[in-house]
């Protein structure tokens, strides 16, 4: 069963991953949170794209990258999001 994302420590990460296309937007109707598995997977994709070790956790290298100045456009364009399996 998916575990909800701990909001307190990962809000910045989730917002960033969502903004740049690694995570789909949380459902605004149900207010459903992202699952931690989805966030972990998105972090891995982001780490792979950035060329840093794929740890799947927001380690120092990942947080440093998240705080770097950058272009506002998403890295993963909406139509390229991985399909979610039911």
């Amino acid at each position: 069963r998916p575990v909800p994302t701990p909001a307190d420590e990962s809000g910045e990460v989730v917002a960033w991953l969502t903004q740049y296309g690694y995570l789909p937007l949380a459902d605004p109707v149900t207010g459903q949170l992202q699952t931690w598995e989805a966030v972990t997977s998105a972090i891995r994709v982001m780490q792979r794209f950035a060329g840093i070790p794929e740890t799947g956790i927001p380690d120092d290298a990942t947080l440093a990258l998240i705080r770097m100045p950058r272009c506002s456009l998403p890295d993963v364009l909406p139509e390229k999001l991985p399909e979610r399996k039911n």
Binding site: Y20, V45, R48, F49, A50, G51, L65, R67, M68, P69, R70, C71, S72, L73, P74, D75, V76, L77, K80, P82
Partner: protein, 446 residues
């Protein structure tokens, strides 16, 4: 499939935003940062060079426009500016640009006005405008972000990328842009310009090209001409990279010549000279010929798909010496050496029997520099610093010629300096042609 390194080699991976169907793209800096250490001229120059990076890799030309509409419009905005990508003050998001496939926002390029935009500044200070601009224009042309650490399309700002005059795309970026637009074929390979548009660092400001010193221009009173044309009733005299313009009343609009590539938008700045120019009577397009290529202009903007080889007309690959459109028979005449071609503009083909020995043979020195058909159908031939007038119906020489071009057309009075004699070692006249236009020799498939 999932995005990531496994897809890196897939074809078209980074062409996410479609591409421009046109190849001649206008640009404009619409707004500037309120408080910036960079001058407006520097920002414009950096924009020019950032676009040039892409046009050196693909058959694209960019030209700055003054009017309100431009294909690529650059703006410095702050915080929420109502496009769904709000800026966030210094750091964080520094810029974004919309893909050509975006129906409403294609060509919009936004920089965060709150960043400390810099140029030629140490890497850890400010945000280098040129580096970011090259990246954003990549989006404007259809490229998405790249995971490659060496790519300019990497999403993270990684500091300055070096001298804008020397900067070249990495191989990956070059391949990606060429997947969208093809490679530079039959287009000039513009090299860094001899005189930079970029000002020196702030402590040593230098003028924009419009303010070049007088001695850099050809002297209208002692120069021969490369081409002469009557366009919309005005007369244009071309020399090297410059031209003089005479109004309907035959008054010079300026004693100092204007830079051709700055006025005729889309003409390469590296074009050393034009051989012939004429206004086509069928549709009033203006045609420029230089070596093996020709350009077609609507007003002062180049049409899509140009330059093209002069062989389109059935002319020799080496180009022409002169051309003029003759209202008398509604034909266009091309001259090369001792030969002339008669081209039927309405039919779009060369007349049978062309080329023939020129009708000017024996009357005038050949080759002429150019020919001109005046407002009343009269014909002039120009050679060196002199011109001849020909009877409009017979093309026979009128008496009293040759006369001085400088005195009769270019408002020169008094004692005119003698024509330069043959060079004897030292170069007597500066070469106004600029660097030669380099053209890749190839067969055009279409």
């Amino acid at each position: 499939g999932r995005p990531g390194p496994k897809r890196r080699k897939s074809r078209g991976r980074r062409s996410a935003g479609l591409a421009w169907t046109k190849r001649n793209i206008s640009w404009k800096v619409k707004t500037y940062p309120r408080e910036a250490r960079l001058s407006r001229e520097t920002i414009r120059a950096l924009t020019h060079y950032a676009l040039k990076v892409w046009s050196e890799a693909a058959p694209l030309t960019f030209h700055e426009v003054g009017g309100p509409s431009a294909d690529v419009s650059v703006e410095f905005l702050r915080l929420d500016h109502q496009d769904g990508y709000p800026f966030d003050g210094p750091g964080g998001m520094v810029a974004h640009a919309f893909f050509p496939g975006d129906p409403q926002r294609a060509g919009h390029v936004h920089f965060d006005s709150d960043e400390d935009w810099t140029f030629r500044s140490p890497g850890d200070y400010g945000t280098d405008l040129f580096a970011v601009a090259v990246h954003e224009f990549g989006h404007s042309l259809g490229l998405a972000h790249s995971p490659s650490k060496r790519s300019i399309m990497r999403p993270y700002y990684q500091g300055p990328v070096g001298d804008p005059l020397q900067y070249q795309l990495q191989a990956d970026d070059r391949v990606d842009i060429q997947r969208l637009y093809g490679s530079r074929v039959l287009h000039s390979t513009e090299k860094p310009e001899a005189s930079s548009l970029l000002p020196d660092p702030p402590s040593l400001p230098r003028d924009f090209p419009a303010l070049r010193s007088e001695k850099e221009f050809p002297d209208r009173c002692s120069s021969s001409l490369d081409a002469v044309a009557q366009i919309r009733g005005e007369t244009f005299f071309f020399k090297g990279q410059y031209f003089w313009r005479l109004t309907h009343g035959r008054h010079l609009t300026s004693l100092r010549p204007a830079l051709s590539a700055a006025f005729w938008r889309g003409l390469p700045r590296s074009l050393g000279k034009v051989d012939a120019v004429y206004e086509r009577h069928t549709d009033h397009r203006i045609l420029f010929f230089s070596g093996p290529l020709y350009w077609v202009f609507k007003d002062n903007g180049v049409e899509e798909g140009y330059p093209r080889p002069v062989t389109d007309f059935g002319l020799p690959q080496g180009g022409v010496d002169a051309a003029f459109s003759w209202p008398h028979d509604r034909k266009t005449y091309f001259f090369k050496g001792g030969l002339q071609w008669s081209y039927d503009e309405a039919a779009g083909r060369m007349d049978e029997g062309s080329p023939t020995p020129t009708a000017l043979g024996g009357q005038l020195p050949t080759p002429v520099d150019d020919m001109l058909s005046g407002s009343d159908g009269e014909v002039y031939a120009f050679k060196g610093r002199q011109y001849w007038k020909l009877e409009w119906h017979s093309l026979k020489l009128e008496p009293g010629y040759p006369r001085s071009i400088a005195r009769d057309w270019l408002d020169c009075t008094g004692e005119l300096s003698p024509p330069p004699s043959a060079p004897t070692g030292a170069k007597l006249q500066p070469d106004w042609r600029g660097p030669p236009l380099e053209v890749e020799r190839c067969v055009c498939p279409s």
